[in-house]
């Protein structure tokens, strides 16, 4: 008998926070908002984890990189930094 290879789907579909809340504006000048979308090491969270849609992830990526250039956000964070 063939084992079943059906992939198990988890929970509910994540909704892009920027599509859900139109007032939420992606801006490199607001690191307090962008902070939600980086790991504690400072890396950008992949959208498969955060649920951000492709278009907004592109904006987000740009914003985080700009924020990094003006030292509003870190490039990397280590435990001892």
């Amino acid at each position: 008998m063939r084992p079943e290879f059906k992939r198990r789907r988890f929970g509910r579909r994540k909704v892009c926070p920027f599509c859900a809340d139109k007032t939420l504006y992606i801006d490199y000048k607001t690191p307090s908002m962008l902070k939600r979308f980086i790991t504690e090491r400072g890396r950008i969270v992949p959208r498969r984890i955060s649920g951000v849609c492709a278009a907004h992830q592109r904006d987000l990526q740009e914003a985080v990189k700009r924020a990094r250039m003006v030292a509003l956000m870190p490039f990397s964070m280590s435990g001892i930094d």
């Binding site: 000048k29 307090s32 902070k35 700009r66 990094r68 250039m69 003006v70 030292a71 509003l72 490039f75």
Partner: protein, 159 residues
């Protein structure tokens, strides 16, 4: 007809910058866009902020936000002055609009937009945590005697 764009520039000055030289720099920047073609919208002082990482050995920097409209040649002149200034440790310009005739800008509207911007509040908790850690590390460096520390920890365990 001059084609121009609306720009915003973040300027990070040394934390111990001299007010005089920044004022001079500001004059030069205004002259640059005034001569070649452009409009000054507003320069906002965001004050001293902790940098996310040290730049040229500085852990803090004084942030300025400058909104302006400029022709390409004027922007080049602005960047030239920023590069020369020894009080500026970093700057970044972002273009906000496409290239359109300078006359077609609604200056009052642009000004209002810049006025409405407020600097992002600093994460006080995070900064306090970093300060504490820095202080602790300095203290450890000064009297970094492992024997003492070990004894203190033992005492705590007993209590």
């Amino acid at each position: 007809m001059i084609l121009a764009r609306s720009y915003e520039t973040i300027i990070i000055a040394k934390p111990d910058f001299e007010a005089e030289s920044i004022a001079k720099l500001q004059d030069r920047l205004l002259k640059a866009i005034g001569d070649v073609g452009g409009v000054d919208l507003k320069l906002v002082d965001w004050g001293r902020r902790k940098l996310a990482y040290p730049i040229d050995g500085h852990r803090k920097g004084n942030y300025f936000y400058w909104g302006f409209i400029a022709a390409p040649a004027a922007l080049a002149e602005v960047h030239r002055h920023l590069k020369i200034s020894s009080d500026v440790i970093r700057f970044q310009t972002v273009a906000l609009t496409e290239s359109v005739p300078l006359e077609s800008f609604d200056v009052t509207k642009e000004k209002e937009r810049v006025e409405a911007l407020t600097p992002d509040p600093q994460d006080d908790e995070e900064i306090a945590r970093r300060d504490r850690r820095d202080r602790r590390r300095r203290r450890d460096d000064e009297d970094g005697d492992f024997g003492d520390e070990g004894m203190m920890m033992d005492e705590e365990d007993e209590g």
